[in-house]
């Protein structure tokens, strides 16, 4: 229980590390002699010297309850009520509130104070969690005195198999500070259980995934895109296929949160890449109830189901970024979601012309799903800088690359039907006389990413569910 403040008299909140507070130390001594004075000190119980009643507020509980934003703050109480307050050193205001003893001979007439320790970054949320009402609706889960909160999260089934950051009130409040949206706003219904998911639940799972608060607009945008009926998140979760959601971020948001589109862009090591993708998966797991072995029926799955998220390299002004290609205005941030299996490396260190490289890439792309199938999923082609340079130097832009690959991915049906090439898998015999496209016209998404060295690109196969094009597609949404 904190010590009560006087019903009548003056209260000053100060900290030793504040130059203005040190400057007015003689004034505080003078006020102490003139009448009842209480000084609440935020950082040093021995400061100020020469004052009778100094309350240690290193835990900042008083500062929090008094809503102190800067120090020194002088408050006058009468009859148990605050009747006046001034912030910083202002001779006229201090004299008005405290009388002539606060005149501060020799001091400047005015000097601003310093920020209160109680409003330093990250502190206020901790104080709300500790002393105030966090206003969170999600139920509290107590953790035993000797229990490890990380282990408690594992035991409750909240983890994807890796440790999660325990969702404490202060962390959730900080996360909610990353968005203007209200905590109780429902973002959508999360499959498979079609459970309503509020912004607060998104924040909790973002905390657990390891996100920073500034990622929240991106996480919310990713989730909203994932809930687009055309993305068929429920089906993607339930499938026995490998696929899971791949998140590709375009626009200023990617740079703002420090996403990686360069060296090892599809790999580990970048917090935003890693945790934004993971947050989506944790929301599906925890809010939607999509658990492996439950509704997630993947035969093998793929490591990208922990997280699979990267940004496109938009550094070349000649390149039309994926989001713009898919209808988002230039300069806007956007998320594209694709039903993705794992990364298949593509090596070509011999091609020197765009024509050679397009034919070569087509050979790699034929392998998506099965070399003899044309309805086993679309694909994302991640063009590395060195491969892209071959196209660029040959004068090919995105549209030309897409068109040329589309043409190069046509094959005679007779090579693909059941039994052809001694392989049972394949297309129906009725396709034998047709020329068959590997992908539909918009079925190949090309994106630029990767480090500067290496004539390697990446092929990310899609999901057979995409073959019903009017029901299931990759989606691109602007991030609000």
């Amino acid at each position: 229980m904190i010590e009560l403040l006087p019903a009548d008299g003056l209260v000053i909140v100060a900290k030793h590390e504040c130059h203005t507070c040190v400057l007015v130390e003689p004034v505080m001594q003078s006020l102490d002699k003139a009448g009842p004075l209480t000084v609440i000190t935020q950082d040093d119980p021995a400061f100020p010297s020469g004052v009778g009643r100094v309350l240690d507020d290193q835990q900042l509980e008083r500062s929090f309850h008094l809503n102190i934003e800067a120090v020194p703050t002088l408050i006058r109480y009468e009859g148990g009520r605050e009747v006046g307050r001034t912030v910083g050193w202002d001779r006229a205001e201090w004299t008005r509130l405290a009388g002539q003893a606060a005149a501060g001979e020799g001091l400047p007439a005015w000097q601003p104070g310093c920020g209160s320790r109680s409003v330093e970054p990250g502190v206020q949320e901790a104080l709300i969690a500790r002393y105030g009402d966090p206003g969170l609706a999600s139920r509290e889960i107590p953790v035993g005195e000797w229990d490890d909160p990380i282990e408690a999260c594992f035991e409750r089934g909240w983890s994807d198999g890796l440790p999660v950051v325990p969702p404490t009130d202060e962390r959730i409040l900080r996360m909610l500070g990353g968005t203007d949206r209200k905590p109780d706003e429902i973002v959508g219904l999360i499959p498979p259980n079609l459970a309503p998911c509020t912004v607060e639940k998104v924040a909790i799972n973002a905390v657990m995934a390891g996100c920073k608060p500034e990622y929240m607009p991106v996480v919310l945008g990713v989730l909203e895109a994932a809930l687009d009926p055309l993305f068929v998140l429920h089906g993607l979760l339930c499938t026995t296929h490998f696929a899971g959601p791949l998140v590709i971020i375009n626009g200023p948001a990617a740079k703002a949160v420090g996403m990686n589109s360069g060296i090892n862009a599809l790999g580990q090591g970048n917090r935003a890449n890693a945790t934004i993708g993971r947050a989506l998966q944790l929301i599906v797991r925890n809010v939607g109830g999509g658990l492996p072995g439950g509704m997630d029926r993947a035969t093998l799955g793929n490591p990208g189901k922990y997280t699979f998220c990267f940004a496109e390299d938009e550094s070349d002004p000649d390149w039309e970024p994926l989001a713009q290609r898919r209808g988002i205005a230039a300069g806007k941030s956007a998320v594209t979601l694709f039903h993705a299996e794992g990364v298949h490396g593509f090596i070509d260190q011999k091609s020197r012309t765009p024509e050679e490289l397009a034919r070569s890439l087509a050979m790699g792309l034929f392998g998506v799903g099965h070399p003899k199938l044309c309805d086993s999923g679309n694909a994302v082609l991640v063009l590395s800088p060195e491969h892209y340079r071959i196209f660029k130097e040959g004068g090919w832009n995105r549209r030309r690359i897409e068109d040329e690959l589309y043409q190069a991915l046509k094959r005679p049906g007779r090579d693909l039907i059941h039994g052809a090439q001694g392989v049972a898998e394949g297309l129906p015999a009725s396709m034998a006389d047709k020329i068959v496209d590997k992908f539909p016209p918009d079925g190949l998404l090309i994106v630029r990413a990767g480090g500067p060295a290496g004539l390697f690109s990446a092929i990310i196969g899609g999901w057979p569910g995409q073959r019903v094009r009017e029901e299931c597609q990759a989606v691109t949404h602007e991030i609000r």
Partner: protein, 94 residues
């Protein structure tokens, strides 16, 4: 128990915060029952009697013992039980 901290539930809150106990199996046919002696005096007497009853009923049992009753069972003991048995009875006290 004193709770030193609290977390917020990340789920849709459709299940109780306390996990439900596993339901007992409908039958002991084909099951192996682990009989765990934590090392307290009298525990072995109880387990001997129980083992006899199981044997009479045609239920297979295996005996396990903690190295000391003053510490929790080592992971190797728990892993062995999990690998070799489907149910466990623990003789808890004197």
């Amino acid at each position: 128990m004193n709770y030193s901290s609290k977390l917020r539930d990340p789920t849709a809150e459709t299940s109780p915060t306390r996990r439900a106990r596993l339901a007992p199996p409908p039958s002991l046919d084909g099951k192996v029952v682990a009989l765990m002696d934590i090392g307290k005096s009298g525990g072995a007497v109880f387990l001997d009697r129980l083992e006899g009853h199981f044997k009479a009923a045609g239920v297979a049992t295996k005996r396990y013992r903690k190295p000391t009753n003053t510490k929790v069972a080592p992971a190797s003991v728990l892993q062995t039980i999990a690998a070799e048995a489907q149910l466990a009875v623990i003789a808890l006290s004197d």
